[in-house]
């Protein structure tokens, strides 16, 4: 802005505003920093609750424990696998489904009915129990693909993809058609390369979903060697229930080790998110606006 209000109330407001928002942003990071600080502290100070935002008696014991923990490493590996396979499946189906749905009903008979077939699942669902019983009767319990197949096509992402495809100039499609290109060629050679930002955004969302999802892992998989990381962490929290431990008068030492170790594991599980976060931040604003506001 060229003109600025330099009056005293205006400047006081600025002072307040810069400070207030700074504090607000700090409260968003504080819990994470606290977690990191405790996980890097020695057992004693961590147990006594002396650690705030800086490690006391700096110690990597919790992390070396994790790196030696079979269960943790295995769960980490399952999660990585899940992200790779899950994102590949989701994005393939999103693109494959979105492309034909950009056609007009004249070109694709029943296009609107098919669209409603997909859209209806955003309005109504069978619910947890029928879905669980289905997965069980398909014999997918304790199978890695129980983490992939039920989530194979995220309908909302597909609709965003379709809306994005529709913003591409029609003439591109028409001239390719005249040149005799098949739909596969048009989709793969024209639509996909021109939609890189949208595909990147949706892939990131898909990645975050598969990395973070833990609930279905906990009901579809009983064998803990098949658990993804977040499911493993959930079970860990359930068994170690801090809330109750602090109330009860139980062996402090036990709690110490638990506390630093659990928080260290939680922190390691956030590292992949922190790694993709710069990319996420670059794309998600676009992605969200893409999904909800359009012409």
């Amino acid at each position: 802005m060229v003109v600025r209000d330099r009056s005293l109330p205006s400047r006081l407001f600025d002072w307040f505003n810069y400070g207030f928002l700074g504090v607000l942003a700090a409260t968003c990071l504080a819990p994470l920093i606290h977690m990191l600080a405790v996980s890097l502290s020695a057992r004693g100070p961590a147990a006594a609750g002396e650690v705030t935002f800086w490690p006391i008696g700096f110690h990597l014991e919790a992390y070396s424990y994790i790196l030696g923990s079979h269960l943790f490493l295995n769960a980490f590996r399952v999660s990585l696998m899940r992200v790779v396979v899950g994102v590949a499946v989701q994005m393939s189906l999103v693109i494959l489904t979105a492309y034909p749905l950009t056609r007009e009903p004249e070109e694709l008979p029943g296009r609107n009915i098919i669209m409603w077939f997909f859209f209806f699942t955003m309005l109504f669902e069978g619910g947890l129990i029928p879905t669980f019983l289905l997965v069980r009767s398909l014999g997918l319990l304790d199978n890695f693909f129980a983490l992939i197949l039920p989530f194979a096509l995220p309908v909302y992402s597909m609709i965003i993809m379709m809306n994005f495809f529709r913003t591409l100039p029609k003439s591109l499609y028409e001239s390719a058609m005249i040149d005799g290109a098949s739909h596969w060629v048009i989709m793969w050679r024209i639509f996909v390369p021109l939609s890189k930002p949208a595909i990147a955004t949706l892939s990131l969302f898909s990645m975050v979903f598969h990395w973070n999802e833990w609930f279905f892992g906990s009901i579809y998989l009983n064998d803990y060697y098949k658990w993804p990381l977040q499911t493993y962490l959930r079970q860990l929290l359930q068994n170690i229930d801090f809330a109750r431990v602090t109330m009860a008068d139980i062996d402090l030492l036990q709690r110490v080790s638990d506390r630093t170790f659990v928080l260290a594991q939680l922190f390691v599980a956030t590292i992949p998110i922190l790694m993709v976060y710069p990319f996420l931040q670059r794309y998600f604003v676009k992605g969200i606006v893409l999904g909800s506001v359009k012409e």
Binding site: C28, H34, F117, F124, P130, S137, L233, R244
Partner: protein
């Protein structure tokens, strides 16, 4: 090209819709859907008579509405204040910090908050330092709903502000310039230019959120609740989970789940209609 998507959706979305008939049966896994006895509305009557049922309904409603309101109000306020920040690097850093929690799972956030909010946790240390009594945020019925709403705000508000901020960037800067020339102060500018510029987005999100008032936050509550707070913390989804998955009362749980799906269906349809009428929103 459409076949894989249609097959996936048919199997994993439409077959469970057929599966809801177990809500009207005395479902036994060995007999299957075709062989189990039909019991009509038995489970629905049973559930409505449960003493705990009113708790579940009330908790779902109170927590969900509390979240919708608190999430959006904080997001709007944050967007308005952030819009007044002129130093670009500072604005960017603020955004980086507040958007982050949204991308962490409830397992991680729940785990951190279980630690922070425990009676010996850092928040209670702070409260004790100020001379107040320690509170059991996750273990007392007095605090549980409040804690769910505000930890949710903590996770989501920055992210929720994105759409409002997007609306603000499309306001013509000349409006502010001419307002200043006309002698309008900052408060007047916010009231007369910024807020009207956000109004369409506010209406849009308010209508769309109407469809969410059956969603009290299943994953969050499942991670953070415990039997001591079932009275105030148990919601429809957690009840369905315990009754169905843990206790194996499939028909009972499916009946409760179906009830929720039907109500949610009506709410979502109404919310889309309102969003279309008042904000011109169409999903496709």
């Amino acid at each position: 090209m459409l076949i894989p998507g249609i097959v996936a959706i048919f199997i994993f979305k439409y077959v469970p819709m057929y599966g809801v008939i177990i809500a009207f049966q005395d479902y036994r896994p060995i007999q299957g859907i075709l062989g189990s006895d039909f019991v009509g509305l038995h489970w629905f009557r049973f559930v409505v008579r449960m003493p705990h049922f009113t708790n579940i309904l009330r908790n779902t409603f109170v927590i969900a509405v509390g979240k919708v309101v608190a999430d959006q109000v904080v997001a709007i306020a944050f967007a308005l204040l952030l819009n007044e920040i002129r130093v670009r690097w500072y604005k960017r850093s603020l955004q980086t910090a507040v958007y982050l929690p949204n991308f962490l799972s409830w397992v991680i956030i729940g785990g951190i908050f279980i630690d922070i909010l425990s009676t010996r946790g850092i928040l209670n240390d702070f409260i004790a330092m100020l001379g107040f009594e320690r509170q059991f945020f996750l273990g007392s019925n007095r605090w549980f709903q409040f804690t769910m709403i505000w930890t949710d705000v903590w996770k989501q508000f920055g992210f929720n502000a994105i759409l409002y901020l997007a609306a603000l960037t499309s306001i013509n800067p000349e409006l502010y310039e001419s307002a200043i020339i006309d002698g309008a102060n900052r408060a007047q500018q916010i009231r007369r230019i910024t807020i009207p510029g956000m109004m369409a987005t506010i209406i849009l999100l308010a209508t769309l959120n109407l469809g969410q008032i059956m969603e009290a936050g299943f994953e969050q509550i499942l991670v953070m609740y415990n039997p001591a707070v079932y009275r105030t913390g148990d919601i429809i989804d957690t009840f369905v989970y315990r009754a169905g998955i843990i206790d194996g009362q499939y028909s009972l749980a499916a009946a409760v789940g179906l009830g929720k799906s039907v109500v949610a269906f009506v709410l979502i349809v109404v919310s889309y209609r309102l969003a279309y009428r008042y904000a011109g929103y169409r999903i496709f």
